[in-house]
């Protein structure tokens, strides 16, 4: 069945059709949430919120865009607002992080006890994730969708409901910030 057929059935209350729609796209939603939050519990919360919004909003879906675009737009909005909600609680920690965190990936690599390559790989990942975490939500979302989920800039613009130029700008600023943060690695 096509997405359109499934949506029409789901709009009539067919739960099997709704489940099929969920199964088609929920991996990608969970992937986006995990890349964005870097935390399984947060990703699970986002997953629930996204699909509950889809469940409630599907009756009013008017096929003005692709279902997947609409779904991923909800997913990115939920990720960003989830981030914003947590920011209030984390603001003090974040300030502390910025001021206190002078370590670099090079420091990790140079550490005497960290000679195992997989440990070093994990440390690099942790450091990259930490740097990504510090980006403002919109820049972070563009970065995650582009680098970790490999969407095209055109697709990101559709998902985030903005112009391609804006996506390029976010990407440029985010990448420059990350390069700056990780420059001691090179």
């Amino acid at each position: 069945m096509t997405d359109v057929q499934l949506i029409l059935s789901a709009q009539q209350g067919d739960m099997k059709a709704f489940e099929e729609l969920v199964c088609r796209y929920d991996r990608q939603v969970l992937n986006i949430a995990r890349s964005f939050k870097n935390n399984d519990d947060d990703a699970k919360d986002i997953y629930q919120e996204v699909f509950m919004r889809v469940y409630k909003g599907l009756k009013n879906f008017e096929f003005k865009s692709e279902f997947s675009t609409w779904l991923f737009r909800i997913a990115t909005n939920v990720c960003i607002t989830h981030q914003s909600r947590r920011r209030g609680h984390e603001s003090l920690d974040r300030e502390f992080d910025y001021e206190d965190d002078k370590s670099t990936v090079a420091d990790f690599i140079a550490g005497e006890s960290r000679t195992d390559s997989s440990t070093i790989g994990a440390d690099i990942m942790a450091h990259i994730n930490k740097a990504v975490e510090k980006l403002p939500p919109q820049q972070k979302m563009v970065f995650v969708l582009k680098y970790f989920q490999e969407y095209k800039i055109r697709e990101i613009a559709q998902i985030m409901n903005c112009k391609e130029g804006a996506v390029k700008k976010y990407l440029f600023i985010a990448t420059n910030k990350l390069r700056d943060h990780l420059k001691n690695v090179f």
């Binding site: 069945m1 739960m15 099997k16 709704f18 489940e19 099929e20 969920v22 199964c23 929920d26 991996r27 969970l30 992937n31 995990r34 890349s35 870097n38 399984d40 990703a43 699970k44 997953y47 629930q48 699909f51 509950m52 469940y55 409630k56 990936v105 790989g121 690099i124 990942m125 990259i128 994730n129 990504v132 582009k146 680098y147 970790f148 095209k152 800039i153 390029k168 990407l171 440029f172 990448t175 420059n176 990350l178 390069r179 990780l182 690695v185 090179f186």
Partner: protein, 319 residues
Amino acid sequence: MNREKFIEMSYLYILNELTPTEKEDFEKILESDEDYKTEFGEINNFYSLIDSGRQGQNDERLLAESRMKLMRNIRIEQEKESLWGNIKNLFYSYFVRNYRMALSGAVTAAFGIFIGYLIFAPSGKSPSSAQYGEISAAGILTRNDVDISNVRLPDSIPANGEIEINFEAVKPLSIKGNVNDPMVRKLLALVLTSESNPGERLRSVSAIAGSGSSSSISDPKIKQALLSALKNDSNPAVRREALTALSKMNPDADTRDAFLSVLAHDNNAGLRVAAINALSELKEKGITFDSPAKEILLNKSETDKNSFVRLQAASILND
């Protein structure tokens, strides 16, 4: 081209976001300028580093847990919606359609309250809610089978010594009965869909599967719980038992679709084998396969990692 523009073009070049013409122009610039070439090398190194930070794929357990929780949340939402719908219907039928009846009912109720007030109104001070609370709490505290938890005391004790203590009292209950009893069935279905302990879910689904009675499985609530467990439970043993239980019931399109869903989405080869065998049995019992079902079978006959599944899918299609 200034440096900032060059950096932006480098990002887009590496990310394969330039048009062929832009790409060609960029490569020419890169070849002609050693400084740009060095900077491009640094940017490339940065991208290699980012590549190592890519997240792995979702683990299936996380996905299955999320799906199951979602279906549970949706069921709760549907119950809320239907409750609200019933209240609205009730309101409509009594207060809009039968407004005369509603009006007379309201007048009678008001008259009854007035008479009740005249008869039972206390002459002195009415007992405070705290006193009622003490009476019921005292009753609970004399029982040995009630667990007390989440006790909350006030921060300070007032001079008159009067304090309010809040707590939760939980009483364990048990039900004894046949698997085919409606109440036991309802409880088993509830355990299967809401219990977080996979062992309990497995025991619940085994009880349903082992009851040997098709009537218990044909109960719509049990059937819905089994279908949901088969498609969404994170534990393969629970999914397997749910499949066995569903195989025992009268074949229909719902079970066929659930088996097809397992065949299409389940990562566990053992479950896919069980699903394809169950589908084969359904076919023998006269269940037909529509074109989307055939499409799944065709796809599995060509792409499934398990050779038995491939063969069996092809055999169902060819029969």
